[in-house]
């Protein structure tokens, strides 16, 4: 059984259809990259999976259970699916460590003392041990985005969603964030990325999906999709970004 199974997911904002019937399966430990022009529906799809946006039609199955059922309490499901945003969205009034501990304390009911050691270990694993007690505005963009990833990981999610997480970074800071993703990849995390980093998608993804106008126009392993795309629109897009 697939870890995550999207069946005909549709989502409109008013009269504007953003996802027009998306089918996608993601297996445990798989890394899937969503590529496509801005406005093709990548971000909205991720926000729908995390239940930040309710879908209009279709189904989202997590471990075979429909999580898109209208009226379902989204909180326990969101706690199982981590998401990292393009604009970091750290809480500016809390230190990096407090940002990370907030949800485990309030949602999982863990004590500050019990969290101290594992949170410290997380920061050290991603080379931020020295920055734990800094406030977001004292951190570089790359550091903030790594803290945002740690914050999501601290909930021990089963799936991680990454919404163009390097797009707001200066070019020289992109590398440190991609390194974190590489590390998660080797640890076997199930991940879905909306990304413009084609080289990165090519290097690490199990599957790449090209989204166009709210549909997955073409999908496949990166070596095939990037070198031999079938659809003219995929070819046109790739020739513009590669």
């Amino acid at each position: 059984m697939a870890k995550l199974d999207l069946q005909g997911v549709t989502k409109s904002f008013g009269d504007n259809p953003v996802c027009r019937g998306i089918d996608l399966t993601v297996d445990e430990g798989e890394m899937v990259c969503l590529i496509g022009a801005s406005g093709s529906g990548k971000s909205t799809l991720l926000r729908c999976i995390n239940l930040l946006e309710p879908i209009d039609d279709g189904r989202i199955l997590l471990d075979g259970v429909d999580i898109s059922e209208p009226g379902l309490n989204p909180q326990p499901i969101r706690a199982r699916i981590g998401i990292v945003f393009q604009s970091f969205n750290l809480f500016p009034h809390m230190t990096a460590a407090e940002n990370v501990m907030l949800a485990p304390r309030r949602v999982l009911g863990k004590s500050r003392d019990a969290l101290e050691a594992p949170v410290k270990a997380l920061f050290e694993r991603f080379d931020l041990g020295q920055r734990m007690h800094h406030y977001p505005d004292q951190l570089s963009g790359g550091q903030q985005q790594r803290v945002a990833i740690i914050r999501a990981l601290a909930m021990q999610p089963e799936i991680m969603l990454f919404d163009e997480i390097t797009s707001a970074l200066d070019p020289e800071l992109v590398g440190e964030v991609l390194d974190v993703l590489r590390q998660l990849r080797t640890e076997g995390m199930t991940m879905i990325l909306a990304t413009h980093e084609m080289a990165f998608a090519r290097e690490l993804a199990d599957k790449v999906c090209f989204l166009d106008a709210g549909r997955i126009l073409e999908e496949g392993p990166p070596e095939i999709l990037f070198s031999d795309p079938k659809e003219p629109r995929t070819r046109a897009f790739l020739s513009r970004v590669l």
């Binding site: 995390n50 930040l52 706690a79 750290l90 009034h93 309030r106 999501a152 909930m155």
Partner: protein
């Protein structure tokens, strides 16, 4: 400003062309400002005493003897203003916060709270403070309550609390609205409930953002405490009135004004300083 501009005159050649120009401009504007201020002060000092009624005004408003005699009594009376302010302020802060939260509830079961919050803020921001003080301060004791429950201190304070909580609620609500929705999304994505998101993520930021605006409200409250004098309490304004009648002299009012300004000017400056600091941080 760079270090170079603060060097002594002899080192002027080290200034860049731009710096020298800006230094000239700065000196010129300081000279002009000083000159015009001096002219205005001189005009006031020289011309006002020429007015035909000046001697009378001086005797009845700026009488040093009366000032010295009444000032200690005014200071004592001012302690009542301070006391009324001190017990009103925390209640206003809490009530204002509660009303602001009422206006943000989403659940349909709690819709009455939302409606109440909206009506409350509309009503109490729409009435003159003095009118609310009269209605509550004379109206409720008129029910024939026993002592001490007919005290104008209680009902006057309640009037101030009701009016000011409405303003504080609106300020806090604007603070809540100013927090970008991505903050709520980030909190929700971690599994926090709406209530937890409000408490741990939105409110702490909102309250910090509107702290200077709220400070201005509390400065206004300090002044409006004087309005309670109309329903009884002998605070500084009322005390000044008593002295005026006793001594047939208006100088006690000037003394009361001095006392208010001694408190409100530093507080206003401090609120402005906070607000500027915030603006700089946000830009």
């Amino acid at each position: 400003m760079t270090d170079q501009t603060s060097l002594p005159r002899g080192s002027a050649p080290t200034l860049t062309r731009r710096q020298a120009y800006e230094q000239r401009l700065r000196r010129r504007s300081i000279t002009i400002a000083a000159g015009s201020t001096l002219a205005v002060v001189l005009a006031v000092v020289l011309l006002v005493p020429l007015a035909p009624g000046w001697d009378a005004v001086k005797r009845s408003f700026f009488n040093g003897e009366v000032f010295a005699k009444t000032f200690p009594g005014l200071l004592d009376a001012f302690l009542i203003n301070v006391a009324i302010f001190l017990w009103c302020a925390p209640i206003i802060a809490i009530l204002g916060l509660v009303i602001a939260l009422f206006r943000d509830v989403r659940s349909p079961a709690l819709y009455p709270l939302r409606l109440f919050g909206a009506i409350y803020t509309d009503v109490f921001r729409g009435l003159p403070v003095i009118l609310v003080i009269y209605l509550i301060g004379f109206g409720i004791p008129g029910l024939g309550l026993p002592r001490p429950w007919n005290s104008p201190y209680i009902w006057g304070s309640l009037a101030l609390i009701l009016v000011y909580a409405a303003y504080v609620a609106e300020v806090i609500r604007s603070g809540i609205d100013s927090i970008h929705h991505s903050q709520r999304a980030a909190a929700a994505s971690l599994g926090l409930s709406d209530g937890e998101t409000m408490r741990y993520v939105v409110l702490p930021q909102a309250i910090r953002n509107v702290a200077p605006a709220n400070m201005n409200l509390f400065i206004a409250l300090q002044k409006d405490v004087a309005l309670l004098s109309f329903i009884g309490p002998v605070e500084v304004f009322r005390q000044a009135g008593v002295y005026k009648s006793l001594l047939a002299n208006f100088t006690p009012y000037v003394g009361a004004a001095v006392i208010f300004l001694a408190l409100t000017i530093p507080a206003t400056r401090y609120a402005d300083y906070l607000m500027n600091k915030q603006r700089r941080r946000q830009s």
